[in-house]
Every structure is written in C-alpha cells, then in structure tokens.
C-alpha cells in the first residue's frame, strides 16, 4: 500500500526555510493554495523567491506574503491584479521578473521533467529575449529558456487521496499541474480527501509520485471566489 502522506499543516510546512524558492499553483484566485499561504504568513521565514503566474487577487494570496516582507523576488506573468506588488517593486522592496505565461508554465514543466531547458519562439524581438541565448533552427529563431527547479511547491486540488493523487476541477487546474512537478518537496491542499483506490486511476491529473505531503484545505474557498465574482 503506498504511503499515507496526510500530515498536519504545521508538519507539512516545516520544511520551508528562509531563502528557499517556491513554485505556487493557481491563477488569480482560481486554484490558489490559500490554506498553505495563510499558514506561511504565520511562519518566520524570509528572502523567498516565488514562481507563480500572479500574486493572487487584490489582498488575497502571495501578495500577503509580499506585504509582510517575506518575499525577495517573484517570477510571474501578471501582477496587475495585485497593485501592492507593483508598488513594492517601484519602492525597491521586491524584485519582479515578468515572464510570458506560457514560458513560465513550460519552465516549471520542463524542470519537473528533468530537461535543462527548451526553445520557445515566444518573445523573440522583445525584452523577453534580453540576456537569453538565441538559437536558430531551420530558419526560425528561438529563445533558449533554462528550466526552473524549486525547493518547494504549494498547490491546491479539488480531490486527493492519501498518497497524493490529485484531481482538479474546472479552470482551477492551471499552474497546479506543472508546479507540482518542479520542486524537491511538494505540499498539496485538497478540498476533498479520499482513501486510496477511490479515485479513478484514468482520471488522475497529478500522480502521487510528485506529492510529498497532503493537507486538508480549511478555507471557505467558495466564499472567497464569490467575493471575486461579485467585485467585478
């Protein structure tokens, strides 16, 4: 029987130390691991480097860690939904590395897949190619993008079993899948916990092979999403 990885959140998160790099799943609130981020707010860690599509939505998500001064750098495709991030950047409190969304997703996926990097046509002729090696193949130019490997990944799923097999729901899948693969230590918060064998083996989106710790999601995520939808 595969190992039961369900642990208290304190134990799951205790591996996170100052200076670490963290890949975070989610997309402006859709599938963001808010339970884990809320716990991270209570921890005494700093100098974090975050790889995430965005920093959350308004005052929820990674932006809260930035406000606390825990984050040194964020590599993201979009920070427009969290004005505090731009402010922190402009005031020199935070380094921001804007990265095309597809490139960021592929950096994680590629790192998780043991590849050194990949050649993307995205960003040729733009600032995205600055400082990067350009490779020409069959007359077309590509940017050589190195993969990313993180110390930790924090993700959220709709359903999970005790070994960490995960199923996402709707558009909350997004960056959770590549983020789950690219870190040495992966913590998943799950909305619904099942015993092994209850989830359809053909329908698993993230194999438990990638997951190290499973935690129950304890935030009323529905309420937060309703606020988001009503605020628009």
């Amino acid at each position: 029987m595969p190992k039961n990885k369900v642990v208290p959140i304190e134990e799951a998160m205790s591996r996170i130390k100052s200076g670490m790099s963290i890949a975070i799943g989610g997309f402006i609130g859709q599938g963001d691991p808010l339970t884990l981020i809320d716990h991270l707010k209570t921890m005494d860690v700093g100098d974090l480097t975050i790889y995430e599509n965005d920093a959350g939505f308004r005052d929820r998500g990674t932006v809260e860690l930035v406000k606390q001064g825990k984050v040194k750098k964020i590599v993201a495709s979009h920070i427009g939904t969290t004005p505090e991030i731009g402010k922190a950047m402009n005031e020199g409190r935070l380094e921001v590395e804007p990265t095309p969304q597809g490139t960021l997703a592929e950096m994680m996926r590629s790192g998780g897949a043991g590849l050194g990097g990949f050649l993307t046509p995205t960003g040729i002729g733009t600032v995205a190619e600055e400082g990067k090696q350009i490779v020409e193949l069959e007359g077309r130019k590509y940017i050589l993008v190195p993969s990313v490997r993180c110390d930790v990944a924090l993700i959220r799923a709709h359903a999970g079993d005790t070994w960490g097999n995960l199923i996402y729901r709707g558009t909350s899948r997004n960056f959770n899948v590549p983020a789950a693969t690219c870190a040495d230590y992966v913590v998943a918060e799950v909305e619904n916990l099942y015993t092994m064998g209850e989830l359809d083996p053909n329908a698993i989106h993230t194999s438990g092979i990638f997951v190290d710790a499973v935690v129950r999601a304890n935030i009323d995520y529905c309420v937060i999403r309703e606020e988001v939808f009503n605020g628009q």
Binding site: G80, G102, T122, A128
Partner: protein, 223 residues
C-alpha cells in the same frame, strides 16, 4: 457598459470569424466579440488559463467558483468543452492549434510590431499570455480604438513602447477602419467605417499603408 466604438469594433471583428475556428479572446474589448458571432457560424473559444469551449456568462447567482476565464470572469462551458493545465494550454497556443487571437493594443506599427503590455513609467501589470498568443495564433487580430485617449494614433510608424511581439499583427480593426498586412505590400486599408473619409483615416493614422483598389466605404454594416 462598453462604448459605442468598442461595440462597433467587436461587431466588425466577429464578422471575420469562420465556421469551426478555435479562437482566443483577450481581456476587455475582445471579450465582447463573443456577443456578435454571426448566425450559422460556430466558433470554439479557448481561454489560456485552461479551458476550451467557453460559453456565455452564467446567470447571476449561478457562477461556479472553478469556472472562470483569464480575466477571472465567471464562465460557462458548452457541451464538448474541456479543461486542461497551463502547460498544455500554452502548448495549444504556441503549437498553432489556435486559429485566431483577438487582442487590444497600445500601439501597432508598420512592421506589424505590437506593444500592449507595458507603459514605461507606469505601474507594471505583466505580459500575461499575450506574447505567447501573438506568437502562436495563426492569425493575430488587433482590435482597438484608433487613437489613444490623448488623440494620438495607435497605428504608428514605429512602436515606442516595449514590444509584445515583433512583426506578428495580421489585421487591425478600429472603429474607423480595417487594415490587413500582406507579406509584400505591407498594411492595406480595406474598409472605412460609415462617417469617415479616406482623408479622415489618413489624418489619424501614422503608419504607412496603401489603399486597396476595392476599398470599401460605409463598411461595418452588413456585408
């Protein structure tokens, strides 16, 4: 509410759609295009955060917390739609599996360069998925008001803002005119909206273009 200009642009853009196409609509004005899809034309809408088969907005109170588009607006899914992760989604986009993308812009220029992700000196938002969409979609439509709020032409000789994509714009649709870019000839003015003259368009367009022999006046109505 969307301005009249935006509605005019969205309606004209929708008439570019072909049956069976897979399209991606940017945030804002481009999203309106879904409201004007002509009868008899079925297109399938992809949203880069991880869904294909985006349907109409849900009725108020029926939003699903796990169904939203890249602009974080609640969506529905049509029968035949499905969800996927971000790496797969951008695989579709870069891999040429999207027939057309419709995007707003800050600037577009003679070379087909597009600048729509950053205004130097202003708060950074980030390029999101725009660079990938512009690079990967088979046809890139710029749907935008002709001039910026200060009256300057968005259709420039050369973009002054950092680019989102180099030589990628294929069609520009504004509330005043429609231009298409051809490999040899460059930008060609093909349609002028009712109420504008050739001189009007020339006066508000900084980029070089030629006028199609069969340029259509009083366009943007029914075909």
């Amino acid at each position: 509410m969307a301005s009249d200009a935006k509605k005019v642009i969205a309606a004209r853009a929708a008439r570019e759609l072909e049956d069976g196409q897979i399209i991606n609509l940017g945030i804002g004005l481009p999203t309106l295009i879904a409201n004007y899809v002509p009868e008899g034309i079925d297109v399938v809408i992809q949203t880069e955060n991880g869904a294909v088969g985006v349907g109409p907005a849900p009725d108020p109170g029926c939003e699903d917390r796990d169904r939203a588009n890249a602009g974080n607006q609640p969506i529905t899914l049509i029968p035949g739609g499905s969800y996927f992760d971000s790496a797969t989604s951008f695989g579709m986009i870069r891999g040429g599996h999207i027939d057309a993308t419709f995007l707003g812009t800050l600037q577009v220029d003679e070379q087909g360069n597009i600048a729509n992700w950053i205004v130097p000196g202003k708060m950074l938002a980030g390029m999101g998925g725009a660079m990938d969409l512009i690079t990967g979609a088979k046809v890139v439509y710029i749907v935008s008001e002709h001039c910026s709020k200060d009256g300057a032409s968005k259709l420039m000789k050369q973009c002054t803002f950092p680019l989102t994509g180099a030589e990628e714009a294929d069609v520009v649709i504004t509330e005043r005119a429609l231009f298409r870019r051809y490999p040899e000839r460059g930008w060609v003015l093909e349609e002028i909206a009712a109420g504008y003259t050739l001189d009007d368009i020339a006066a508000c367009t900084d980029m070089a273009y030629t006028v199609a022999d069969d340029v259509k006046f009083d366009a943007y109505g029914a075909d």
